[in-house]
Amino acid sequence: MAMEITQVLLSAQAVDSTVRKHAEETLKQFQEQNLPAFLLSLSGELASEEKPVESRKLAGLILKNALDAKEQHRKYEQVQRWLSLDIAVKSQIRAFLLQTLSSTSPEARSTASQVIAKVAGIELPQKQWPELIGSLLSKVHQVPPHVKQATLETLGYICEEIGPEIIDQDQVNKILTAVVQGMNANEGSPEVRLAATRALYNALGFAQVNFSNDMERDYIMRVVCEATLSAEIKIRQAAYECLVSIGSTYYEKLAPYIQDIFNITSKAIREDEEPVALQAIEFWSSICDEEIDIIDEYGGDFTADSDIPCYYFIKQALSALVPILLETLLKQEEDQDQDEGTWNIAMAGGTCLGLVARTVGDDIVPLIMPFIEENISKADWRHREAATYAFGSILEGPSPDKLTPIVNVALNFMLTALTKDPNNHVKDTTAWTLGRIFEFLHGSTVETPIITPANCQQIITVLLQSMNDAPNVAEKACGALYFLAQGYEDLGTTSPLTPYFQEIVHSLLNVSHREDAEESRLRTAAYETLNEVVRCSTDETARLVVELVQVIMTELHNTLEAQKLSSDTREKQNELHGQLCGCLQVIIQKLGASDPTKYALMQYADQIMNLFLRVFACRSATVHEEAMLAIGALAYASGPNFTKYMPDFYKYLEMGLQNFEEYQVCAVTVGVVGDICRALEDKTLPYCDGIMTLLLKDLSSNQLHRSVKPPIFSCFGDIALAIGENFEKYLMYAMPMLQSAAELSVHTSGADDEMIEYTNFLRNGILEAYSGIFQGFKNSPKTQLLIPYAPHILQFLDSLYLEKDMDDIVIKTAIGVLGDLADTLGNNAGSLIQQSLSSKDFLNECLSSDDHLIKESAEWARMAINRAISV
């Protein structure tokens, strides 16, 4: 049943696009007409030594793509399709694939390895293809090194594809034995040793048991450390990759080896080639990550029964490690700051130094000060930059008490360097360091202010001046200003930035207009900073923020007028629209938060809305997330006046609700529906049929990201509260969905933290829906329509109470629902309520809660229940 496809596969790679498209079309037809035959032909093509390597490779690739997809729902379909294939076909394909591992063509072998892993990923969890691992292991011992190499590679890919629970320990032991043997120094073929080392990287997650056994662990560690000394750079790099992974996966087993690891990594950082040195630095960075997490979790209080002990490896290695890292800082590349993609040893070293500072705190300060003092004024820019970078790197971690005196001395020097240093790289790092100073040592929580009335003006002048510097320096200056503004965020009515507000805004707008603002994400940084300056502004500058509305509107208007059609410029225009809409959103939210400024804002509401609609009109299929967010803020500020925009806006609301791919857009749009409901109240009604239909579709879709579903439930509540008893016609759809989601969300047993968090998020959404529906139907003759749902809802509340894993938000919402139910159903539900556990134990617990929001909701529930049962 196989078909002849070599020619088609070759044509599909032709230079001539007509030939190529025709071939792709033919392949698609094959696939649709007879999938089993198509897959069989592809695997046969891949296995056949007579065929050209190009067609074999493409055959393997198409096969692989038929087994896997990025989107969850498509992947699920493909898995089901494979599982339902005839067993004879599958056996034949598997045989072709295994056979290909012995091919003399490295490309064919490598492609086959990947396809086998995909098949294994589908079949092993289903207990199918049980002989796979066994037959691979038997091949490892075959003589030809190229077969051995392909087999080890396949084992590595399989480990990457499946979870450790799929393979029994006996097979794990055999895989690890084969892999570690392949890594051994006496393995003659470098290709085999490299494949084995890479396979170990993927197999480490399977080695829990083996790492608990001292002898096996010693052996694995010895082999890995030996491989870091291989003559082959790729093997050394792969071995360090294993070491990095071991450092985070088996941190608690590392103590006996840490001295040896320090010795080999420090040598590698100093002497080895960059790709290896980078991994050696990464080892210490990941140890820092581990220790920061452990210390965070236990707050420094360790007891014998802490889950994971903290060995303070970094603290112990500190005096030896810091000098090594400082050395790396001098190995900068010219122009590294202009090139987004660069990652070199100086960058990695500084990053690691920053993590070390976060791990050990104050102890790092005396170790870096001599380096800074020695280098900060040297003639060679590398020394000045390295000294500054070292200082900037360690600002997060040590206490303000320790850092403030040093910063007070350094600040003037930095401000001078930022203005006067001839080197771009030094200025970049200086501006970045100033930003870090403001980020960590400036703000209402810091006792001794770094920024005082005496130096504030100078700091701002220097930063604004630097905004005319090269794009990379200007971008860092924007960042510094961002944190400078953020430090003044909770000030109330007056801010030290008030006298400079106008000048700052003016400079940032100028930056956004620079011809080179595309470079070094300068324009983005300018708008981000402008946003933060607006967010942190006070009443004193409210008038200026109102004026800014017109300025940003004009900017947006101008970009909409510009007729640019090439896809590249359209992309850029989109980005600019996003930035301007984001800025308007921040302003609307700021001005909308208090009545006097809201009225000032509202005079522009028509124009703003008109601009947003034009932004939407620029894009055909998707809606602009930023414009959507901004419209939510505008709807909130406008209240019922927003009604007049609905006829034009509604179609974009629909588009947003249908955007499954960019789920953030969908989520934002769901939030905007809530804003509109609260703004329009019963005037939302004409749009509700459409909105509810789309929301129900969203809920039923398995394409939509799950994080959007809880807000959709909350949105049901918003709609019901807005349109009251008119929600009647949606009850028959919404209630069963809420009910089944409620049943699913009751139990979290065995779930991880992330799942519990999601479940509580979901519960909150469901409960908010119930609250909104009950409150919406209150005092309506149709209240009785809700009575049939009451038993289930009370049972849901009781189950949640018994489950004992609600977070405070869910507790507050849940007890509120009890009150809403009692309030709306009154004595109709009196006896049901009295029978429920929630009305007794749960309510009593909430009444004596320390959380005032819970207590408040509970008081409400108590009153509503008393009334319901007394009548």
Binding site: G156, Y201, G492, G582, A593, D595, A633, N641, L721
Partner: protein
């Protein structure tokens, strides 16, 4: 399928402004949703707890007395749902009648409550006119305790001024309990009854004050006067009633003329009418008006009281149930032309209140006449007693401080001291 790139963020602050915008939006929406639900619930509570007599025929004698003043029994309320929203839009006599009954009236402190230091707040009361301030439909109106109009003005309170873009007109209204202080033309807010449509009845003092302090400043009502905001509003500094708090309220400097101290029980809800859960106390150091003055502004030699004439001739205080000070015979009633429900002024003969077991048994009263027409209420029992004590053996600040000091002892001797 290679190991992950070890590249880490370089010189990048760990934030995304876009994510920040999303997060702030979500927070705002969650808050708006909570507010909307809270409002729905509070309107329900208001309906449950407010009384309404708008169906009754307006009483032409209103200015003299208010026969409906006493709180109606719970049962009578049930079928007469009344909404603060409607009240906010009442005009003229209706409004006066309604608002006259909504203020919470503190009792006078005639003995020191238990647990003063843990369950009570204290603040310095501004001298001035006690009033309700209502903002709705783009205008702000203040009404005195008797329901009479004080000012009609634009303010920065929600919906307190007209504006081209005002929104939520039917919904957004506020009711504040204030004292208007003439000297600096400022409304000092002593309590919050409704805010932006949300009723604060049934909320604890603790919560009302928290809400008041956060919302009032946000609204812009505390700013200096402007064309759209004719009078400044201010909150009072409220202390926990411990030694330091009491001393601070008693002696601390304030921007207004002090007229005694107000004590609020932290757990009390806002109730209309007399309540023992808010207390007022004063002495010469913190008030110019310790002893009541007569209509000419002089302190009379003998204490005077205003009592209400009940239909059986008894003379009652404002309290619910009323305390009876005596009884008029029908001849006397006829001779003075007094009518049921009318207020009458008496003086108390020196040392002529007789007590038995701590209860008033009898009072020697002399009829003086009818009080000022603007007077809407009889005196409360606690007021009479406070005035009586102030003339004989006042409750002094030392007593209050001592009570806090010995708060563990259930019994204090203040009663005996004061009445002795």
């Amino acid at each position: 399928m290679a190991p992950p790139d070890p590249r880490r963020p370089f010189k990048r602050p760990a934030f995304s402004d876009q994510q920040k915008r999303r997060d702030i939006s979500l927070q705002r929406q969650a808050q708006n949703r909570r507010d909307a639900q809270h409002q729905a619930r509070c309107l329900a509570l208001t309906t449950m707890s407010l009384q309404n007599d708008s169906a009754a025929t307006p009483d032409p004698q209103y200015e003299h007395s208010d026969p409906d003043f006493e709180i109606e029994p719970e049962a009578a309320v049930k079928d007469r749902d009344f909404d603060v929203r409607e009240a906010a839009s009442l005009r003229g006599r209706e409004a006066r009648r309604w608002f006259a009954k909504q203020l919470m009236l503190p009792e006078w402190m005639i003995d020191v409550p238990d647990r003063l230091n843990s369950d009570w707040y204290v603040c310095a009361r501004p001298a001035g006119k006690r009033c309700f301030v209502v903002s709705s439909n783009g205008v702000t109106v203040s009404r005195l305790r008797n329901g009479g109009l004080l000012h009609r003005f634009p303010s920065a309170l929600p919906n307190g001024a007209r504006s081209n873009n005002s929104n939520r007109s039917g919904q957004s209204y506020c009711i504040l309990d204030c004292i208007f202080h003439e000297a600096d033309q400022t409304y000092y807010v002593i309590d919050m009854v409704c805010w932006a449509g949300m009723s604060m009845y049934e909320c604890t003092t603790e919560f009302r004050f928290f809400w008041l302090n956060s919302k009032l400043a946000e609204s812009g009502a505390c700013t200096d006067p402007s064309p759209n905001h004719k009078y400044r509003f201010r909150t009072l500094v409220v202390y926990n009633c411990d030694q330091e708090g009491l001393k601070a309220a008693y002696t601390g400097p304030v921007s207004y003329l002090k007229d005694g101290l107000l004590f609020y029980n932290k757990h009390a809800h806002y109730e209309s009418g007399n309540t023992p859960l808010v207390l007022v106390w004063k002495d010469e150091n913190c008030s110019q008006y310790v002893l009541d003055t007569d209509s000419k502004g002089h302190i009379p030699d003998q204490q005077q009281v205003v009592l209400e004439l009940l239909d059986d001739g008894r003379l009652a205080t404002l309290d619910d149930p009323p305390v009876i000070f005596g009884c008029l015979d029908s001849d006397f009633i006829q001779k003075t032309g007094s009518q049921t429900g009318e207020l009458l002024r008496f003086s108390i003969n020196e040392g002529a209140l007789y007590f038995k077991d701590g209860q008033l048994e009898r009072a020697d009263l002399n009829y003086l006449g009818k009080p000022n027409r603007a007077r809407a209420f009889a005196d409360s029992y606690s007021k009479v007693m406070f005035q009586y004590a102030a003339r004989h053996s006042p409750l002094r600040i030392e007593h209050l401080l001592a009570s806090i000091e010995s708060s563990n002892h259930q019994e204090t001797s203040t009663d005996a001291d004061m009445l002795g």
